[in-house]
């Protein structure tokens, strides 16, 4: 994978500080799975987080706080069974989350966890038609802030103008599209700030599948058929 477009530094910093919406986090973690460059950057921002932690004005712990913690840990440790210890750092799976997607190497785990259990590939997604040539599937996030959805766009069709306010990111999962910024291929992220007007067009013979996350609710007022004119002759 030859990734050319990444989330901005500010976006990666928000990911590392843990202050972005779940919708955005899902997109960033999915991109990071295929992008060692952004994993390194996030590690750098986490180091900054550690530095801020070192510099913070400390708040004294309550009396006997350590004794209390130690007593609880002693009890735990007494019943400790080494066999059930978590796997070491290099092969870690988030605690309490099962992986349903070992059979689908092409969809990164963060995204798999948000898909229905029976979905084994992007083709199995229960797409809903939104307009001619445009299908979508809304992913369920726990948080009400932000939205995240998959979009499937037929060749030559443009992604409808969905008039977003706030922060929006698009991660290409399959195919390619072109807009004012350039050409985006699988793995690329378009990280757009407020009010950027863009109308990406799926520009190859292949359909294009992308993940779109927003911080603010997406406004679908723009989803009028007249805006969905197929774009030929690219």
């Amino acid at each position: 994978m030859n990734i050319k477009h990444h989330p901005t530094d500010q976006t990666l910093m928000d990911y590392a500080s843990g202050t972005m919406s779940q919708a955005m986090e899902l997109l960033v973690a999915t991109h990071m799975t295929v992008c060692p460059h952004c994993r390194d950057k996030v590690a750098e921002f986490e180091t900054m987080g550690g530095a801020v932690l070192e510099n913070v004005t400390r708040m004294e712990m309550a009396d006997h706080s350590l004794d209390h913690v130690m007593a609880m840990l002693e009890r735990e440790t007494a019943n400790e069974n080494p066999a059930v210890q978590e796997l070491p750092m290099t092969r870690r799976i988030a605690v309490g989350e099962s992986i349903t997607g070992s059979a689908m190497p092409s969809i990164p785990t963060p995204l798999v966890k948000f898909l229905p259990d029976n979905v084994l590939s992007l083709e199995d997604v229960p797409w809903k038609t939104l307009a001619p040539g445009v299908k979508h599937f809304q992913l369920k996030s726990v948080e009400s802030k932000g939205t995240v959805r998959l979009m499937k766009i037929a060749p030559g069709v443009s992604i409808p103008d969905h008039g977003h306010h706030g922060h929006e990111m698009t991660l290409l999962l399959k195919g390619s599209y072109i807009d004012d910024i350039g050409r985006f291929r699988a793995g690329d992220v378009a990280d757009l700030d407020d009010d950027v007007d863009h109308q990406p067009i799926a520009d190859t013979a292949e359909e294009c599948i992308c993940l779109i996350a927003t911080d603010a609710p997406m406004k679908f007022s723009g989803f009028l058929p007249k805006l969905l004119q197929p774009f030929f002759g690219i």
């Binding site: 899902l26 295929v34 510099n55 708040m59």
Partner: protein, 196 residues
């Protein structure tokens, strides 16, 4: 007020940062209670301050700081000193616990055993400096920042606010927040290159 506030600087040199890493390793290896007490003394009051900034209540902050330190004990065997400094690792534990409690969900992370994972085929000219040394350099670079930039960086990590909320808080335009952050990041990166 149950929380007296004191200020004590963090590790100023790599040797001290390495000591923190060694303590975690020792907790993992031999359930070293003395090492854990040292970690607790160093990090618990900092994690408490972190939780307080997000939760605004000193009982909750105390409880979460205790819980974070218990996770340090429980997860010590997952700590890899070649991948992260102690402060970095404990920051991520605190961050994840905070999201878990205050936002009732898990922080979404890359799964290192993911079959879709693409590994770096061209790793950086491998690690002239250790993670501990690096963390100390980052901290030093951050201390060098002009106050207005430092505040924006700190608010980014230590408050649950977006950049527009930071702008509101500091009563400056959003564009200014963004440019200060950009400057700070550029300066830290530049500074790191100078130092490394």
């Amino acid at each position: 007020m149950s929380g007296t506030v004191t200020k004590r600087p963090g590790p100023a040199d790599p040797a001290e940062a390495k000591k923190c890493a060694d303590w975690i390793v020792s907790v993992a290896a031999i359930r070293d209670r003395e090492a854990f007490a040292c970690l607790f003394a160093h990090f618990a009051p900092r994690v408490k301050a972190y939780m307080f900034r997000f939760g605004g209540n000193s009982e909750t902050a105390e409880e979460l700081a205790q819980e974070a330190m218990m996770q340090v004990w429980r997860k010590a065997h997952l700590f890899d000193p070649s991948k992260a400094a102690a402060s970095t690792w404990i920051f991520t534990i605190a961050r994840n616990l905070r999201i878990d409690r205050f936002r009732q969900r898990k922080h979404i992370e890359v799964d290192d055993s993911d079959t879709a994972l693409i590994v770096d085929t061209d790793p950086l000219a491998d690690e002239v400096v250790s993670r501990d040394e690096h963390a100390v350099l980052v901290k030093a670079a951050m201390e060098e920042l002009p106050t207005d930039q430092k505040i924006v960086v700190e608010l980014s990590f230590f408050e649950d606010c977006s950049h527009s909320e930071i702008a509101e808080r500091l009563d400056i335009p959003l564009g200014t927040v963004k440019s200060r952050l950009r400057l700070a990041l550029g300066k830290m990166r530049g500074g790191l290159e100078d130092l490394a």
